[in-house]
Amino acid sequence: MSAPPLLEVDHLVMNYVTEKGDVSAVEDVSFTLHQGEALGLVGESGCGKTSIAMSLLRLQAENAVFKSGEIRLNGENLLALPEDEMRRHRWKDIAMVFQGAMNAWNPVYRVGDQIREALDLHFRPRLSDAEATERISRLFEMVGLNPAMANRYPHEFSGGMRQRAVIAMALSCDPSIIIADEPTTALDVIVQDQILQELKKIQRELGMAIIYISHDIAVIAEVTDTIGIMYAGKLVELGPTVEVFARPKHPYAYLLLSSTPSVTGPRRKLAPLEGEPPNLLNPPTGCRFHPRCPFATERCSIEEPPMETIADGHRVACWNWREVPVSIAQEARP
């Protein structure tokens, strides 16, 4: 870890301004991403993971306001850049596979032509026709599509193929970071598996960094080196994926893992998480998880726990992380 990080998110705070008041969507989130690293952000809907992804590209919603913090790409604060300079980084340095992007292809243009358009917008100097065709063919091969498919229309693609084409488009300008927001949601398991394997392979070959964003902790387990668990706008635990899955330290992470059914291992009783996520218009005081937390003490409702480093690269924001059992409950299901 001696090399400087590619991307640093430093104490980022972002609110959505609404009629009813400010929604605290991202609260004091910090993490780094190194060359070739695969980071996963996992959490439930409304936990702020997509808000972070959009912020990295500065494509946040119009009513979003950055209260404080920085997002540094190679040391340069993206939040301070004027829009036209930001546009140069977008796609070239950071590309994104949007949630539901597979349904965003324009039905009346050939898929290859739509990728070509992206190339023309971002690639300098502009590629010649031959170069562009060559490049698109290579991209298609990379994501496991027949290059001849570039001349086809979106409706001739299946869901999985469309998603592969979306990934090809994200790769088109050799970005150093790809953000994949729910890249396989709405796909069937077999196709999901194929696409995840493809992404892993590409990442290995090109040495890119990827940020996976998903609600599905099993998907994150499969493809990432580092995992960040988010709850109600806060990053509550961050660490090596293997370590966090083996020894989750934040009660939310612990309960999330305890309540994830699996097809492997013993058939165990799952512990339901009581209650529902808080309304971020008016988040709970102290630790945002305390109303649902079985380990909560009085301190949790008053003081906000800071992110504490408990081992190399493993950080957790909880006053009582020592109380959390060492491994997941394995109570067998009756």
């Binding site: 609404t18 009629e19 009813k20 439930e44 809907s45 409304g46 997509t50 808000s51 009513n63 949630q99 729910e182 949601t185 709405a186 069937d188 609600h215 599905d216 529902e276 996520p277 808080p278 309304n279 971020l280 218009l281």
Partner: protein
């Protein structure tokens, strides 16, 4: 059969709950009281959304203004402020109109309009044996606004303001009746077509196509020319034409979207009959759109009435269209602004109230369609 995972942001955020209608440990309340409380709450909520739209408020204010005008004559006659012999919109007559003394030059015609006075004035003050060179007192009708007649009088010496007020009554009666007929028919036809489909649907939809193809005004003129056409006849005809026509198609497409919702399946699985499903699930979900189209129907009904009355095809006591028609047949229409009180009050009233209902409709559209709402 898609397995989609919902990832709408905040989809599972607990909503801000308003206080419950019944408190957790109260004595059981009667059902209608609860329904009333629910209705009041949802009305308050929708009113809040509506209120945010300034255009809609303007429309509502205009409608309110005309509603006051429509009620006013009842009050004015009852309190004796207005004497019905003078102020009745049809048979009233101003007994002491302003008088102009003129010398008879050749014929007894009004120099302005070239119309024989005896045809126009139902007045016996002009002696029949009048000679050229004699002086004669000619009552000035139509008379411009004065203290007794704020909007002047018409060529027959009747009060224009009173006519305008009674015209507002006619307009409300016509517009609302037409709209109610339209909505009842269109909602029923749309829901039934969507729910049952098949031959019934084809029949109603082809009928709708046919009615859309027929030029609206032309068919009203034809009907008006053949039959004696009263105001409520017109309302019903307009209601039928738009109820079986375009509005039915719009409401059907809405009903189709409702029909495929799982709650309709759930009702069927519970054992609900077709009638139960149509009237408790489909119609209530089509209703908001129906109300919207009610507003637009009012607009087209009032405009249709004005056109028909202007052509003299409507057997109606008094209406705004008739006021303009009278000004026209008596030759005052093409006199520029000189007889403005015969033309503008009625013309403006038609325009304003049409616009008002339309504006209210637009504002309701935003309440009904959250997508149109600004955040």
């Amino acid at each position: 059969m898609t397995e989609k995972i919902d990832a709408r942001p905040g989809a599972d955020e607990p909503t801000d709950l308003p206080p419950p209608i019944i408190s957790p440990d109260s004595v059981p309340d009667s059902m209608w009281r609860i329904r009333w409380a629910l209705f009041r709450r949802s009305f308050a909520h929708n009113w809040k959304l509506f209120r945010a739209n300034r255009v809609g408020l303007v429309g509502l204010a205009i409608i309110g203004f005309f509603a006051l005008l429509a009620i006013a004559p009842t009050v004015l006659f009852a309190t004796g402020i207005w004497n019905s012999a003078v102020y009745d919109p049809v048979v009233g007559l101003e007994p002491n109109p302003p008088v102009k003394v003129m010398t008879v030059v050749n014929e007894i015609t009004d120099p302005e309009t070239q119309i024989d006075f005896r045809h126009v004035l139902l007045d016996n003050r002009i002696p029949n044996n009048i000679q050229v060179g004699e002086q004669v007192e000619i009552p000035q009708q139509p008379a411009p606004p004065d203290r007794r007649h704020w909007l002047g009088t018409d060529p027959l010496g009747r009060d224009v303001l009173s006519q305008l007020m009674h015209g507002a009554r006619a307009a409300f009666f016509l517009g609302i009746l037409a709209a109610v007929v339209t909505v009842i028919i269109a909602t029923t036809v749309g829901s039934i077509s969507a729910y049952f489909g098949g031959a019934l649907d084809s029949f109603f939809m082809r009928l709708a196509d046919l009615l859309i193809m027929i030029p609206f005004l032309a068919i009203l003129i034809v009907i008006g020319a053949i039959f004696e056409f009263k105001l409520w006849h017109l309302a019903v005809v307009i209601g039928l034409l738009s109820g079986f026509g375009g509005v039915a198609i719009v409401l059907k497409s809405q009903a189709l979207a409702v029909k495929v919702k799982p709650f309709v399946d759930a009702a069927r699985v519970a054992g609900g009959s077709n009638a139960h499903i149509i009237f408790t699930h489909i119609v209530p979900n089509v209703m908001p759109l129906s109300f919207l189209y009610m507003m637009f129907t009012v607009t087209s009904a009032i405009q249709g009435e004005a056109a028909l009355s202007f052509l003299g095809l409507l057997n109606v006591r008094i209406s705004w269209g008739l006021m303009i028609q009278l000004a026209n047949t008596q030759g005052y229409l093409l006199q520029g602004l000189r007889y403005w009180w015969l033309l503008f009050p009625a013309g403006l009233a038609v325009t304003l109230i049409s616009a008002a209902f339309f504006l209210v409709g637009r504002a309701m559209d935003e309440v009904v369609n959250p997508r149109l709402r600004k955040r």
